[in-house]
């Protein structure tokens, strides 16, 4: 189980982050103060830290500096209201893995967490959903132990749904996370890919279409 520390002084945002993390099946702890966070991180064993920049006591940059100074290599994602490039650079140069500008959508945060965990080698590489097994490293998808031929994009779509079960995924989120932000194609191609995945993997009735919203892979 992946353990994530939330360092955020605003009570409601902290709660929202916790709710988001439970959607992604992550364990979490919460902390609202910079100095306290440093101690918690050094003493605890976390796989990832969500770190707010403006904190009472000690700001996020200083927290990062402190824990890196203590030899803690836990990946850090900054959460901040400041979108200036200079601040972004400052955060990344300080050794943060990623930088998310508030406000953001929870699914976006989950996708970023996923990317950072994968880069750190902490992500689950074998996914299972009913009789479907996916090996991300080998890029193979098995249905009832039989390999199914999927295009790379179809494979990515399948993995994205399997990582976020029971959550409605919008076409925009699929587009930005699988095709990249700068993809300017029609969202029809998203629908076609989802239909292909549903057909090939036999997910009729499970990978359902939600009108006006997107798709959802029902947890059984």
């Amino acid at each position: 189980m992946i353990r994530i520390l939330i360092v955020e002084d605003d009570e409601n945002i902290s709660k929202m982050l916790a709710a988001t993390l439970s959607i992604g099946d992550y364990e979490y702890d919460r902390c609202a103060d910079g100095e306290e966070a440093v101690q918690t991180i050094i003493n605890g064993t976390y796989d990832l830290i969500l770190l707010d920049v403006m904190l009472p006591g000690m700001d996020g940059f200083a927290v990062l500096e402190h824990i890196r100074g203590e030899g803690c290599e836990t990946p850090v994602i900054f959460l901040t209201a400041l979108g200036a490039v200079a601040d972004k650079v400052k955060g990344l140069r300080g050794g943060a893995e990623d930088y998310i500008v508030k406000p953001f959508e929870p699914v976006e945060l989950l996708a970023r967490i996923e990317v950072v965990l994968r880069r750190a080698g902490k992500s689950e590489m074998h996914l299972r959903y009913g009789d479907i097994q996916v090996d991300i490293e080998k890029h193979t998808a098995l249905k009832n132990g039989m390999p199914v031929a999927l295009t790379p994009k179809e494979f990515d779509v399948l993995v994205f749904f399997m990582r976020n079960p029971d959550v409605a995924i919008t076409r925009e989120q699929l587009l930005s996370n699988i095709w990249g932000f700068d993809f300017t194609g029609e969202s029809r191609s998203v629908d076609i890919h989802v239909q292909q995945v549903r057909r090939k993997m036999g997910l009729q009735g499970k990978l359902i279409t939600i009108p006006k919203l997107g798709y959802r892979l029902e947890r059984r």
């Binding site: 605003d10 409601n12 709710a19 209201a81 508030k102 959550v167 995924i169 919203l213």
Partner: protein, 525 residues
């Protein structure tokens, strides 16, 4: 050409010219007097010769015991006399009717630069006529006169050598020229050195200004040297100091702008993050328990309210600058009783007592805005005060102006907080302020309202002891309404149609009159 070159060159030219002119004048007058002396001595020698000639003639007459000397006797006498007298002159010649009767030393006159024959002795001249001429290498002075001997006119010419006077003059001239050249050279070197020395502060000034141009406004010049350069150095120092000060001020403004923008982003985006996050979770999650739904939805409502409060305050902050204020003279007693009536029940819930004291002053204020200022300050005081304490609202006189103070015995502020208190979004303790419903805009608004009233907001606070907020009334002119400026700008639009423009002009005049009368009324009361 550089300044030092110009100065030294021009000075050199003038000095040389002055020296040369003086030299020339002195030498020339000296030369003239020398010539005059020569001429005088020549003239006296000449007349002495003439006298001796007539004496000899008389003597010969007595010796020969005749009434008149014959021409031959006279000629012999003349020959004898001039030969013995030749020591006084270089040439002596006696002529009669253009013919030379006798002459001594005439050979020096060969090659004379002057036609000696052209000198016609004038009868009227008794002491002779003088001519100066060159012959060969030498210069001579000739004196010509008519003498009467034995009832006959003779022309007596004597010539004297005056070469030494001319030679002396030439030598003097040469000497002077040489000395002039040497001194000129020396002076020009001295001049150059001193001019360069005088101009050194200028070089320093150029260096200083160069450094300032490059962005170093901390450079200062040593203020010494002659008074003009001292003034220059002082001015330059003042300039760099004022630039430095202004730059720091600008930097301060830019910094506080950046802080404002950052704080603004933070304050806007924090509630937005919760709202967007919870709303999206509610949207995408397939199963949401009742408890979760209530939880998430109440967080959304809470944050949306916070956003509403923030936007209202921001709007007030933005519009206090633009809305024209409605000034009126309101007695402090009336104002304070209004404040008391509104605030006392609210404060009473926490057992806080509000005491209002006043000296019946008239306050020239916009009633609504000033009320909200006082509400804000009292609200702040209440937030800082413990339950069952007391808050004072006092109007008094201080140094000849009216002041309104709000005093509490609450938690006070640290000096750093006092300094930044009126900055928008500044909060000493974010968590506590937010719980108390603050957005960090209260004092920024208060400061703004004071400014609009021509008043100054002063904060005196001792940490853990309490805070006194003092509004100094009428310490600055009331700023002009920006609404008027906007109207003035609009009036500058290019005319479109003449007829309509005329009508509009009339309307505008009317409005202007109304406005003026209104303002007059407001000021004189």
């Amino acid at each position: 050409m550089k300044l030092w070159q110009k100065i030294s060159l021009i000075a050199l030219v003038f000095v040389t010219l002055a020296v040369q002119l003086t030299q020339f004048y002195i030498l020339d007058s000296h030369f003239r007097s020398a010539i005059a002396r020569e001429v005088n001595s020549a003239a006296s020698a000449h007349s002495a010769l003439a006298a001796s000639l007539s004496n000899h003639a008389a003597y010969e007459r007595l010796k020969a015991n005749t009434l008149f000397l014959s021409t031959d006797q006279l000629t012999d006498m003349l020959k004898d006399t001039i030969t013995t007298d030749i020591s006084t002159a270089d040439v002596i010649e006696v002529k009669k009717g253009g013919k030379t009767i006798t002459a001594v030393g005439t050979e020096v006159l060969d090659g004379a630069s002057y036609d000696l024959a052209s000198v016609k002795p004038n009868d009227a001249i008794t002491d002779g006529k003088t001519v100066i001429f060159d012959a060969g290498e030498k210069t001579y002075l000739m004196v010509v006169s008519i003498i009467k001997l034995e009832a006959m006119s003779y022309e007596l010419r004597t010539v004297y050598d005056v070469t030494n006077v001319y030679d002396e003059h030439d030598a003097n001239l040469n000497n002077a020229r040489m000395w002039g050249l040497c001194c000129g050279g020396g002076i020009s070197v001295l001049l150059l050195i001193s001019v360069l020395g005088f101009l050194r502060p200028l070089k320093r000034a150029v260096k200083t200004i160069g450094a300032a141009t490059a962005g170093d406004y901390t450079v200062r010049m040593p203020e010494k040297g002659s008074s003009e350069l001292k003034t220059l150095a002082h001015s330059i120092n003042e300039m760099t100091a004022s630039i430095n000060e202004r730059e720091e001020k600008l930097r301060g403004i830019a910094e506080s702008r950046k802080r404002f923008a950052d704080a603004m982003a933070h304050e806007m985006k924090t509630p937005l993050t919760s709202i967007l996050g919870f709303a999206d979770i509610l949207r995408i999650k397939s199963v949401v328990t009742d408890e979760q739904r209530r939880d998430f939805a109440s967080a959304i409502v809470e944050e949306a309210k916070r956003l509403r409060g923030l936007s209202a305050k921001l709007l007030t902050l933005a519009s206090t600058d633009n809305t024209p204020l409605d000034f009126a003279d309101i007695p402090a007693a009336q104002l304070f009783s209004d404040v008391h009536a509104t605030m006392a029940p609210v404060l009473g819930r926490r057992g806080i007592k509000l005491t209002a004291l006043h000296k019946n002053a008239m306050l020239h204020i916009d009633r609504e805005l000033f009320l909200s200022l006082l509400y804000n300050l009292i609200d702040n005081a209440a937030k800082a005060s413990p339950d069952n304490s007391e808050i004072w609202l006092i109007q008094s006189e201080l140094d000849g102006h009216t002041v309104v103070s709000v005093i509490d015995r609450g938690m006070g502020m640290k000096p750093d907080t006092v300094r930044r208190a009126t900055e928008a979004f500044y909060m000493e303790d974010k968590a506590r302020s937010r719980k108390a419903g603050g957005a960090g805009l209260g004092l920024a608004l208060c400061d703004d309202i004071c400014r609009r009233h021509g008043a100054r907001l002063e904060i005196r606070s001792t940490y853990q002891k309490g805070t006194t907020i003092i509004i100094h009334m009428n310490v600055a002119p009331i700023p002009k309404n920006q609404g008027d400026e906007l109207e003035a700008l609009l009036q500058k639009r290019p005319p479109r149609e003449k007829t309509r423009d005329k009508a509009r002009e009339k309307e505008r005049q009317k409005r202007k009159k109304q406005r003026e009368t209104r303002y007059k009324g407001g000021r004189t009361i």
